[in-house]
Symmetry: C2
Subunit: 203 residues, 2 copies
């Protein structure tokens, strides 16, 4: 489990000094603009201009809008992942599987709820956030926990269903159109995890 892939930090090895400084400026400008106007009122042009760089620079660095967004979210997810690997139970190792799943799900959904969903909504279809985004790193974590606890399962499928429940559009829908409390969404996710665990528990 120690080879669980951390969300990649910028490859500090082969990066030119000006490039690094540009990356920092882009991230700072984006953070500021997103906070000030909301992510859906900020174009890539806006960010480039505010950062004082050209479009080519942004796209060389981050690939596309989704890449920039994921980079902005990287910090908090690196922290959560650190806790999963080396933190105290129940987030970290040591607690029973069900409790670890619950703790993880609640933490992850809390992040979604704290502005992340709105940012992910603007990433379009280009790459499913589920596949390239922050959650990609959590698949392994879920799969490992499930594999231990319920070996009879199609663990990969179950993992997918758990990760799909972090979908930003779903979250925004439930939270703001249906006006669900955060806790209801978290409880629902925990119930889903429990349902999978109950399918074929390791005896």
């Amino acid at each position: 489990m120690e080879n669980l892939p951390l969300i990649e930090l910028p490859t500090e090895q082969t990066e030119r000094a000006d490039a690094a400084s540009n990356r920092r400026r882009i991230l700072e400008a984006a953070t500021e603009l997103f906070a000030a106007r909301g992510p859906d009122c900020v174009s890539m042009q806006d960010v480039a201009q505010a950062a004082g760089v050209g479009m080519g620079t942004m796209y060389r660095r981050f690939g596309d809008r989704a890449g920039l967004t994921f980079a902005l979210l990287g910090e908090r997810h690196r922290a959560l992942q650190e806790q999963l690997l080396r933190g105290a139970p129940p987030l970290g190792p040591g607690a029973p599987v069900a409790e670890r799943l619950h703790a993880f799900g609640r933490a992850r959904i809390a992040l979604l709820d704290d502005g992340e969903a709105q940012m992910l909504l603007t990433t379009g279809n280009a790459a499913s956030a589920t596949l390239r985004g922050p959650d990609a790193a959590y698949r392994t974590h879920l799969a490992v926990l499930l594999r231990d606890a319920a070996p009879a399962l199609d663990v990969e499928y179950a993992t997918n269903s758990l990760v799909m429940a972090f979908d930003a559009r779903l979250h925004v829908h439930l939270r703001y159109e249906r006006e669900w409390a955060l806790e209801r969404i978290q409880d629902g996710w925990c119930a889903l995890a429990d349902a999978w665990l109950a399918v074929a528990p390791a005896t």
Copy 2:
């Protein structure tokens, strides 16, 4: 259950004759182009031109690209929904809940697999296919079945998790990147449905 909303047919009431004819021509042109080149190589311009109408006409009729796509998919989904309401078991009424869920899930995923997923991928983020698209009509069906069978559940949340599993990007990912067999995806969905049913079965 008889008030389950059918996927809306064009409101034949207040529609001018020329408008109706234009709608037909747009749908025909789109069907043909999508089949010929694949949905990701057809722009809205292409469709308008092939149909011999202006952009304004398309957008007045269908709202956006997603709307056009959903309209194209409407026929097959109206047929499936008809079967759910009045068809023979296990798709239609009469069979045990688990069997009805399985039959429905398999049928719906088969449609996804048959070209639908690629079409939905091009609809972008504008509207979650899950909320406005074909699956919106299936939420009620799932909720009713689940409510009968497992009243202790948060039926709405469970419904969402089942519908999210029809996500087009997920399907394309599993099917073509991971190269899963169609049956594995269908089996996975059935297992998810069973897991929910097992949580708090009606005695």
